[in-house]
């Protein structure tokens, strides 16, 4: 069946998943649903001990079994040790057909590949995957399905009961013996634990895994004792230098600086740029450079940011510290400055992934965004974006908050260099759709800026300001193709190995098994 972004979703997948095809951004708006609920094992006795001696004991006490769903958060990023530690124990205990539900997976989890191959892991649910897991999935090694969800979409899946988590393992930089968890106060701080709040709320069993046990009560606690069944102390939950590095150096790449300048001009010359505006940006070089140059215009015009949302980095925290931003809400910290700013600035607030981005609550922060600046691997002439599947057809990225913020923001700006090596980032059809074109308003490239025809108001504002070279999206694609030639489409096999879920749980696109390249007969 063809969905609203023109992608063919095989009947077999619709039957197998019980899902509908994507029907447009607001399909489920206003449609009430019954929230799912977890099983709770109450603690009444005042001498109850939550401490377990190791992951093995935690698994036994949480009734680990074949076919269960275990969940994890990804705040430790490339430095995460918790997922592999727990999965190795599950592997050792011989459990099979596990559904691994993580807020994201990356190169830190390459060691899971043998567990995918031997059937320990049956399904994977994640924002995306990088490294060897992505390679394994794209080569058909996962027996079940990989489901790629946005950060908001994951909260929706758990709260609607589509995903029922049996055991949630929450890596906690600091924790006490009764389960009060914080992203700060330990030796492997990640700032906030936002993505894990829904796991703590909705899993039948919750295990806090920490390498820094502190005195009771560990307050302020992000995840408190009423949600946590067991506490397990291990040697190390993460590698600090891979969790949060020093702030990225401002880019010296002239192409990125040019795109940053165009982006800043677009923000400064569109109608939402006024005192109290709200803003989110990513961690790419151009995004960061744009935030820095925007701050100069904010100072000149005495325009303050009312709300900054993130995924935060040093430049955003500096806006807060300098009084140019009034409040920051935070779901993840990408550098040490942002981690430390959580505690040092009282207007820096940790929020849950649900508050941030869920489409199925009574209004998330993304709905209140004026601007979001995003990157994309590919953007097509329908303004659809692909942030998950590489141009070689292999799963190599993550949805993150891309579809959530793109839909929510009044002005969604996507930055992409026209060419990445020989690969055109602006193309006729993206390899896989992750964010629908209806969410994307403006595309900024090094060869010019294109405005979605659905937004004549923004186009007029930029024409009147005469601040950036305006092109149509087709013109940008044609420039790209005139330099590198029109690319052939990647050759895929028939088997569907993964699905790209839209925020609301409908199917945006599918990912098929790759097949080895063969030359065209001619």
């Amino acid at each position: 069946m063809i969905n609203a972004v023109g992608r063919e979703i095989p009947e077999e997948i619709l039957e197998r998943t019980g899902k509908e095809v994507f029907q447009g951004n607001n399909y489920k708006d206003g449609k009430a649903f019954q929230k799912a609920s977890p099983k709770v094992t109450p603690v009444m006795r005042n001498d109850h001990d939550k401490m377990v001696k190791d992951i093995h004991e935690a698994l036994v006490k949480c009734n680990a079994h074949d076919g269960m769903t275990v969940s994890f958060h990804h705040h430790f990023r490339e430095g995460d040790l918790v997922v592999c530690m727990v999965m190795e124990e599950i592997h050792k205990m011989g459990f099979k057909n596990i559904t691994l539900s993580a807020s994201s997976l990356g190169k830190a989890h390459d060691a899971l590949v043998p567990m995918i191959e031997d059937g320990t892991i049956l399904n994977i649910e994640s924002s995306g995957v990088r490294g060897k897991i992505g390679d394994a999935i794209s080569h058909g090694k996962l027996k079940g399905l990989a489901t790629m969800r946005s950060h908001g979409g994951r909260v929706r899946a758990i709260e609607t009961g589509e995903t029922h988590v049996d055991i949630a393992f929450i890596g906690a930089p600091s924790c006490d013996e009764y389960g009060n968890c914080s992203g700060m106060g330990g030796k492997t701080n990640c700032g906030v634990l936002s993505y894990a709040y829904v796991d703590a709320e909705m899993a039948d069993y919750v295990v806090a895994v920490t390498d820094c046990l502190v005195a009771y009560p560990n307050y302020p606690a992000e995840i408190n004792q009423t949600k946590v069944d067991y506490v397990c102390v291990v040697d190390q939950i993460g590698i600090p230098e891979k969790i949060a590095t020093g702030a990225a150096k401002p880019t010296t790449d002239q192409r990125k600086i040019l795109m940053a300048e165009y982006c800043t001009q677009v923000v400064a010359n569109t109608p939402y740029f006024k005192d109290g505006f709200s803003y989110q940006t990513g961690v790419g070089g151009a995004s960061i450079a744009s935030t820095i140059s925007l701050s100069k215009i904010m100072e000149e015009k005495n325009i303050h940011m009312g709300l900054g949302v993130g995924g935060l980095t040093k430049p955003m925290c500096e806006l807060l510290d300098r009084g140019l931003a009034r409040k920051l809400v935070d779901t993840q910290d990408f550098d040490l400055d942002a981690v430390n700013n959580v505690r040092s600035n009282p207007n820096h607030f940790p929020i849950s992934a649900g508050e941030y981005a869920s489409p199925m609550n009574k209004g998330a922060f993304v709905n209140k965004l004026d601007y979001v600046i995003l990157a994309s691997l590919e953007v097509d002439t329908h303004f659809n974006c692909n942030v998950v599947v590489g141009s070689d057809g292999i799963i190599t990225g993550a949805q993150g908050g891309h579809p959530d913020t793109a839909q929510g923001a009044k002005c969604t700006i996507v930055i992409a260099p026209l060419l990445q090596g020989r690969i055109p980032a602006i193309c006729t059809d993206v390899t896989t759709v992750t964010t629908p074109g209806e969410s994307v308003d403006i595309v900024v490239t090094d060869y010019g800026v294109a405005v979605n025809p659905a937004r004549p108001d923004l186009l007029k504002a930029l024409q009147d300001a005469d601040c950036v070279p305006l092109k149509t999206i087709e013109e940008l694609r044609d420039i790209a193709y005139s330099i590198v030639g029109e690319p052939d489409k990647v050759q895929f096999g028939d088997r569907v190995v993964g699905i790209i879920e839209a925020r609301d749980g409908t199917i945006m696109d599918v990912v098929r098994e790759v097949k080895p390249f063969s030359f065209r007969e001619d």
Binding site: S391, R422, D488, F517, F519
Partner: protein, 99 residues
Amino acid sequence: MEIKKAATAGTLESSDCMVTVEPGEGKVDFSLESSVINQYGNQLRKVALETLKNLDIDNVRITIVDKGALDCTLKARIEGAVFRSVDQYENLPWGGAIR
């Protein structure tokens, strides 16, 4: 032209390619490894075979390791490797076989 000895041209830098030509076994023996093979494998092969034809070469083992080179780069690298294989560094046929 006749390939006299093995010769290479190009680098493995991004947006370049490395071309090796060796004496063949009576035919064009073509091998391509490319970072963009899915998108441009067919186009790269077409450019390579055309370039060899322009140089009137039908007996060669050609090995291309491509890192996203444009067509013009690939063509220049093949021509470079071929003329090196016959030690011709002067009186190159600009506008003739090289065009």
